[in-house]
C-alpha cells in the first residue's frame, strides 16, 4: 500500500485504475466525473503503451473500450448518468461478446439532463439491464474514497476473471469529496487472455469476438452459458458490510455514501436504546439476498433508504418475500437526506 494521500473520489478512481494496469482510457467530459478524464490525460501519456483518448461521444467511448479490451488490454471508461445511458448499447454488445471492461458511473440527478447533484436513481438501469437482451453486469457501490480506489482495483480483476463488464456506481458527491486514501501496488501479473484476445493469427487459428448468433438455438445456448457464469458470480462475488446488526431489530439497508448517513442514525437510535443496525450492499449485483434473509428472524422491520424514489427496495422486498415489513424512505432529484429526517422516518415505524 502507498502512503496515505488526500484525494477526491474521482481522482482515486483514476489513480487506482492505473495501478490496476489500466493503460487505456476512453471518455467524454461530463460533470460530476470530469476529474477522471483530466487525471488520465495527465498520467496515461507518461506510461509506456498508455493512451488517453477523448472520444467524440460516450457511444464511441464504450466502443473504443470494446476494441481495446478485445485486443487484451486493460481499458476503462467513466461517465455520469446521461452518458451511461448512451453507453448502454455498447455494454450490451460487450456483455454478449464476453469481453472484460470497467465502467464507472458517478451518478447525478435525473431523469433527462436532470442536474449535477448526487442521486442513486440509476440502480434499475445498471442492475436490471439498461441495454437490451439477457445479460448482467457486476455492479459495485463504494461508500468512501478509499473504497472508490479499492473497488476500482478489484473491478478489473473481476472483469478479467469472468470476461464481462463491471460497473462501479458512486454518487456525485462521493466523486467530488476529498478523503485520505491509500493505494495498492502497481499490478504486474494479469490473467492469461491468449485463449480469446485478438492478437493476429501468427500462432493460432482465426479468433472471433462477436455478439451476433443468428440461429435461435445457438443464441439460447450462449445465453445459458452466460447465466451459468452469472450463477457462479452470485456464489462467489457477493459483497456487503454489516454495522451493529448482531442484535438489531431494525435493519437499515442502504448503499453508497448514504449508508454513512445511516450510520449516524443507527448511533443515535442506539443512544435511545433502540437496537438498530445497517446492512450495506457493496455489490448491488450480485445482490446480498442471503445476508438479508438471514436477518428476517431477528428483524422487527427492514428500513431501506435510497437517494431515489425506491429502486433497490424492490430487491430487498424480493429477498424478504413478505416475511417482515420493508419500509422505504428516499429523497431524489439530487437532494441528500439529512440524518435528522432519516432518524425521524425510522421512528415513525417504532
Amino acid at each position: 500500500m502507498s502512503e496515505k494521500v488526500l484525494m477526491k473520489g474521482n481522482e482515486a478512481v483514476a489513480e487506482s485504475a492505473i495501478r490496476a494496469g489500466c493503460k487505456l482510457y476512453f471518455g467524454y467530459p461530463i460533470t460530476p466525473q470530469s476529474e477522471i478524464p483530466e487525471y488520465m490525460s495527465r498520467k496515461l501519456p507518461q506510461i509506456p503503451g498508455g493512451a488517453y483518448i477523448q472520444a467524440e461521444t460516450e457511444v464511441s467511448a464504450i466502443n473504443m473500450v470494446y476494441g481495446a479490451t478485445s485486443a487484451g488490454a486493460r481499458a476503462m471508461t467513466t461517465s455520469s448518468s446521461p452518458g451511461i445511458s448512451l453507453m448502454m448499447e455498447g455494454i450490451s454488445y460487450i456483455a454478449c461478446a464476453e469481453v472484460p471492461c470497467v465502467i464507472v458511473n458517478v451518478m447525478r440527478g435525473g431523469p433527462g439532463l436532470g442536474n449535477i447533484s448526487p442521486e442513486q436513481a440509476d440502480y434499475f438501469q445498471v442492475v436490471k439491464g439498461g441495454g437490451h437482451g439477457n445479460y448482467r453486469l457486476v455492479v459495485l457501490a463504494p461508500s468512501s474514497v478509499q473504497e472508490m480506489a479499492d473497488l476500482t482495483y478489484d473491478a478489473f480483476d473481476i472483469a478479467d476473471k469472468y470476461r464481462m463488464p463491471v460497473m462501479l456506481v458512486a454518487e456525485g458527491n462521493l466523486g467530488q469529496m476529498m478523503e485520505p486514501v491509500k493505494f495498492k501496488e502497481l499490478k504486474t501479473e494479469f490473467t492469461d487472455k491468449s485463449e480469446w484476445a485478438l492478437t493476429g493469427t501468427r500462432n493460432h487459428e482465426p479468433k472471433i469476438i462477436t455478439s451476433i448468433l443468428l440461429d435461435p438455438e445457438t443464441m439460447e445456448k450462449h445465453i445459458h452459458k452466460l447465466y451459468e457464469k452469472y450463477a457462479l458470480i452470485e456464489e462467489n462475488e457477493v459483497r456487503f458490510e454489516e454495522y451493529l446488526t448482531d442484535d438489531a431489530e431494525i435493519i437499515i439497508i442502504a448503499y453508497g455514501l448514504i449508508s454513512r448517513v445511516a450510520r449516524s442514525v443507527v448511533d443515535k437510535l442506539r443512544d435511545e436504546g433502540i437496537r438498530a443496525g445497517i446492512l450495506r450492499p457493496i455489490s448491488l449485483w450480485p445482490f446480498p439476498n442471503e445476508a438479508i434473509k438471514s436477518k428476517i428472524e431477528q428483524a422487527e422491520f427492514f428500513f431501506v433508504c435510497e437517494m431515489s424514489m425506491g429502486q433497490m427496495v424492490e430487491d430487498v422486498r424480493l429477498a424478504v418475500n413478505g416475511a417482515k415489513p420493508v419500509h422505504f424512505f428516499g429523497r431524489c432529484g439530487g437532494v441528500v437526506p439529512t440524518p435528522v429526517e432519516m432518524f425521524d422516518n425510522v421512528k415513525k415505524y417504532l
Binding site: 487505456l24 476512453f26 493512451a51 483518448i53 472520444a55 467524440e56 461521444t57 457511444v59 464511441s60 467511448a61 466502443n63 473504443m64 473500450v65 470494446y66 476494441g67 481495446a68 479490451t69 478485445s70 485486443a71 487484451g72 488490454a73 481499458a75 448499447e89 455498447g90 454488445y93 461478446a97 485478438l198 492478437t199 493476429g200 493469427t201 501468427r202 482465426p206 479468433k207 472471433i208 469476438i209 462477436t210 455478439s211 451476433i212
Partner: protein
C-alpha cells in the same frame, strides 16, 4: 500446367452468402489478396459492420471482431491504440458508416487514427431490404422512398470522401468503383495503398467503393454495373480526395 491464378490465403473455402452480382465478394477477395501480397494477414483484425457484411468473418482467415451499427471506427480506434502492431481493416457499408456512424467516422478521420476503412457505397440499406440510405440519389426509388428520394423532404446524398477531406488529419482518401475492369484494378490499387500506408504508420485512410446491389436496385448484375457507370458515379465522382501527410507539429505557444 502452371497455376497463374489461385484463391488468396486470406479467404477460406466457405461459399459466400451474398446475392448474385453483389460487390462484397469482389472486395473481400481484393482485401484478402492485398493482405497476402503485403504479408499482413497474420497481423490483421477485420472488423465486421452491421449490414450485409456482418458475417464477413465467415470468409476471412484473420482475427475478427463484430461491431455495433456504425461503431466500427471506434472499435478500430480501441484495437489500434491497444496494440499498434495490429493492422485494422474496418469494413462498413453506407447505412452503417454514413448514417448510424457519422460521428465515429468523422472523428476517427479527424484524429488521424492509423486504420484502413473500406467503405462500400451501394446507395441503399442492403440487408434490411433496400431502404433509403443517406447516400440514396435524388429521385432514386427504394422501399422507403417509393416515389423516389425527394430532396424537399429527405435532403440530398451525403458525400463521405468530400466531407472527410475537409479535415486535416487523414493521410489518404479515394473513391473507386467496381463497374469496369479498369476500375476494379484502381480499386485493388487503392486498397493496397491504404493497407501499405497503415503498415508504415502513416495514418488514416478510407477507400469508398461504389458497389452494385442488383437485388435491391431491381436490376440484373450487368444493368447494375451500367447504372454505377452512368448514374451513381456522376453523383459520386471517382478520384483521390486526399493524398498528403498532415502537419503533425505540436505548437504549445497558443
Amino acid at each position: 500446367m502452371e497455376k497463374i491464378f489461385k484463391k488468396p490465403k486470406g479467404l477460406n473455402d466457405k461459399t459466400m452468402h451474398y446475392c448474385p452480382g453483389c460487390g462484397h465478394g469482389i472486395v473481400h477477395k481484393m482485401i484478402a489478396q492485398t493482405l497476402e501480397e503485403l504479408d499482413l494477414l497474420e497481423r490483421t483484425i477485420f472488423i465486421s459492420p452491421v449490414g450485409c457484411a456482418v458475417f464477413a468473418y465467415w470468409y476471412f482467415n484473420t482475427d475478427h471482431i463484430q461491431a455495433a451499427h456504425g461503431r466500427a471506427p471506434a472499435v478500430a480506434t480501441g484495437l489500434k491504440r491497444a496494440n499498434p502492431e495490429l493492422i485494422i481493416v474496418s469494413y462498413q457499408g453506407d447505412g452503417d458508416l454514413a448514417s448510424a456512424g457519422t460521428a465515429e467516422i468523422v472523428h476517427a478521420a479527424a484524429r488521424g487514427e492509423n486504420i484502413s476503412v473500406i467503405f462500400i457505397n451501394n446507395a441503399v440499406y442492403g440487408m434490411t431490404g433496400g431502404q433509403m440510405a443517406p447516400t440514396t440519389l435524388v429521385g432514386q426509388k427504394t422501399s422507403t422512398s417509393p416515389f423516389g428520394r425527394d430532396p424537399n423532404f429527405a435532403g440530398h446524398p451525403l458525400k463521405v470522401c468530400e466531407m472527410l477531406a475537409t479535415t486535416k488529419a487523414p493521410r489518404y482518401i479515394e473513391r473507386t468503383s467496381l463497374d469496369s475492369v479498369a476500375n476494379l484494378n484502381k480499386t485493388k490499387k487503392a486498397i493496397k495503398k491504404s493497407f501499405d500506408l497503415q503498415a508504415r504508420g502513416e495514418g488514416f485512410s478510407l477507400v469508398e467503393i461504389l458497389s452494385p446491389c442488383p437485388t435491391n436496385w431491381g436490376m440484373s448484375p450487368p444493368e447494375a454495373m451500367d447504372w454505377i457507370a452512368e448514374t451513381l458515379s456522376k453523383e459520386y465522382p471517382l478520384g483521390v480526395f486526399r493524398d498528403e501527410r498532415a502537419d503533425t507539429e505540436v505548437r504549445n505557444d497558443s
